[in-house]
């Protein structure tokens, strides 16, 4: 009989090897989990596999996940991404780095409609990056800005990552959504500030925009996106005012998104309907397959009592909790380079949350902090989904340029982490106000 600790170490090693060999992540997590269960519990242990999948994938909090994805996809086919970017461009064109600021601004608003960052990168990137390149923006600056700001969709509600965090910890989705709003807007403001300062200091990266628009043109552009903006205000407003639960708001909001796309934008033909549902099923299954498999893997860790051991270790450390928290953040940033966002969140949450709760930290605040970490994870190589999404929607880009372009944004997000540890109210203020 091999000791459980050795089995766990082997299972983790197997996980990393499989991921490196380009095995789909859900397969890697599932196989590593099964291998660990076999090592510890023999064939009886493996009986946990269907139990874990059924238990995690039937968690009611997850019902909101496909619905928010559907809402985002239904709006995306309306050509809203182009209109959003067009409107932002008309309002920001006099600002240094105006197109870059427009890209961040439209990612922020698109982020309030979409729960997943790859959709945001794909929709905004397809529009904004070619436009920026045409106006003489440096590829690194243009692509880095869109790849990083696309991740705002995870922090600004609605957010799939908060739904996943809720499904593991039982924290309220509505509270998590409220907790992510201020940090998300703060991060967007920090990104825009960076773009403007950078354009001012180094005009070669982002040449001044020669376009001039009248106020009338600006208002018309705003009018074009107003139905979608109104829909988002209604969805988030109904959650924050307590009229609807996040799941109810997702279902009714998705239905309303079909109405907006069909009745107002007239874009709801068969081809678009098919595209909406194919995309939704694809994104849902790709991410939730990881959710289910990650639970198999973490149940293997539970069986080996890894979370208990980790909590005992953390609580036994003779250092101030802030130091432990900073240490945890550093480890998460490193892990975020190697693991995709959903897997990272799903694997570390059951291990970390009992420990940080024991230290007296608020799991709600920690959830928001974790998602800021994921903002970094999705843009750090070698494993950064937004980077490859960027490359796939604008194939002429060089991956090396994209990697260079995101570096300043990693620093900005690191700064946000520090600010949030120093001032937890940034995340906890709004949820406290609403309840």
């Amino acid at each position: 009989m091999i000791a459980d600790g050795v089995v766990v170490a082997l299972a983790v090693a197997l996980l990393l090897v499989l991921i490196a060999l380009r095995t789909p992540i859900f397969v890697a997590l599932g196989v590593a989990g099964v291998a660990g269960l076999l090592g510890m519990g023999g064939f009886t242990g493996v009986e946990l596999v269907p139990l874990a999948l059924v238990s995690q994938l039937q968690e009611y909090a997850l019902v909101a996940a496909p619905l928010y994805i559907l809402l985002g996809e239904a709006l995306a086919v309306s050509g809203l991404g182009r209109d959003l970017f067009g409107a932002a461009h008309r309002w920001f064109n006099r600002v240094p780095g105006g197109l870059g600021a427009s890209a961040v601004g439209s990612s922020t608003i698109f982020g309030a409609m979409s729960g997943v960052s790859i959709s945001s990168v794909a929709v905004i990137g397809r529009m904004a990056v070619p436009e920026m390149l045409e106006r003489g923006y440096k590829p690194a600056f243009a692509s880095g800005t869109v790849a990083a700001s696309g991740a705002l969709a995870m922090l600004i509600p609605p957010s799939l990552m908060f739904i996943l965090y809720s499904s593991v910890t039982g924290e309220s989705v509505a509270d998590l959504f409220a907790g992510g709003l201020i940090p998300g807007l703060l991060l967007a403001a920090m990104m825009i500030t960076y773009v403007v300062v950078r354009a001012k200091l180094s005009p070669a990266d982002a040449p001044v925009d020669p376009d001039r628009f009248t106020w009338r043109e600006r208002l018309v552009a705003l009018g074009r996106i107003s139905p979608a903006l109104l829909l988002i205000l209604l969805v988030l407003g109904s959650i924050y005012t307590g009229i609807a639960t996040p799941t109810e708001a997702a279902a009714v909001g998705a239905l309303a998104a079909f109405v907006v796309t069909g009745a107002i934008y007239h874009k709801l033909g068969w081809a678009n309907l098919k595209r909406i549902f194919v995309s939704t099923a694809q994104v849902t299954a790709a991410i939730l397959a990881i959710v289910g498999a990650a639970f198999v893997f973490t149940q293997m860790l539970v069986l080996a009592r890894v979370p208990d051991a980790f909590t005992a270790f953390i609580v036994g450390l003779d250092v101030p909790p802030t130091v432990i928290m900073i240490g945890i953040m550093l480890v998460l940033v490193l892990l975020g380079c190697l693991v995709d966002a959903a897997s990272l969140l799903l694997v570390v949450t059951p291990i970390l949350v009992p420990a940080i709760s024991e230290l007296g930290y608020d799991p709600l605040w920690f959830g928001v902090l974790l998602v800021v970490n994921l903002e970094i994870a999705v843009i750090t190589p070698p494993v950064g989904l937004n980077l490859y999404t960027m490359k796939s929607v604008v194939p002429e880009l060089d991956l090396a340029d994209i990697f260079r372009g995101i570096a300043p944004y990693v620093a900005i997000e690191g700064l946000l982490l520090v600010i949030m540890i120093a001032f937890p109210q940034i995340a906890t203020f709004l949820p406290g106000l609403l309840s």
Binding site: L18, I19, A20, L21, R22, P24, I25, F26, V27, G30, V31, V34, E47, V49, P50, L51, L53, V54, Q58, E59, Y60, L62, V63, A65, P66, L67, L70, E73, I118, S119, A122, A244, E248, A251, V252, L255, F277, V278, T280, A281, Q282, V283, T284, A285, A286, I287, A289, I290, V291, G292, D340, P381, V383, L385, Y388, T389, K391, S392, V393, P395
Partner: protein, 179 residues
């Protein structure tokens, strides 16, 4: 061989279509429940259990088609850098790992299904879904995961089509000439 692959792909596509319909039905039934709950003070007792199960069904039924078409999230950075021989070996490992996971899923889910059936296990509440139903869906998905692992092996990375980007649903099957 292509005939078998076409047939399997038709099955996985049909399962994926069911998954899409399920998501649409979730949207409609929750909206209906909201109207009944707030306007008529008569919430349904079926919306909650059915939609919980809906997430599982929508996910699990779409998984085999996503594999066959190369649309699962995977990380190909190291794989890209490998020499051709090593890449083929890595792909073989992926095939074996996926088939193994599918096999474990099929065997354990069908066993769990048999136990739930024999024990008459049903969910709690006035609208009870028998517990063998989700197990059956898992088992079917496991069987098809084995089939697609063997019939649609991973293809060498293509610089223009990295994995896991919404869009080209049939990329891999298309590349192998069966989409």
């Amino acid at each position: 061989m292509d005939g078998i692959r076409r047939a399997v792909l038709a099955c996985t596509w049909a399962m994926a279509v069911v998954a899409m319909v399920v998501v649409g039905v979730m949207m409609l039934t929750i909206s209906y429940d909201v109207v009944m709950r707030y306007a008529f003070v008569a919430p349904t007792d079926w919306a909650y259990p059915l939609n919980s199960a809906g997430v599982l069904v929508a996910t699990v039924l779409a998984v085999p088609h996503l594999y066959a078409t190369g649309n699962h999230i995977s990380m190909d950075l190291l794989h890209r850098a490998l020499p051709a021989g090593a890449r083929r070996a890595a792909d073989a490992v992926t095939t074996v790992a996926t088939a193994f996971l599918g096999l474990v899923l099929a065997v354990t889910a069908f066993h769990s299904m048999a136990v739930a059936w024999a024990g008459g296990l049903i969910g709690a509440g006035t609208f009870n879904i028998p517990l063998w139903v989700p197990d059956a869906v898992l088992g079917v998905s496991g069987v098809f995961l084995v089939l697609v692992a063997l019939l649609f092996p991973a293809t060498p990375p293509d610089a223009h089509a990295p994995a896991a980007v919404p869009g080209d649903v049939d990329a891999r099957a298309d590349a192998q000439g069966v989409a």
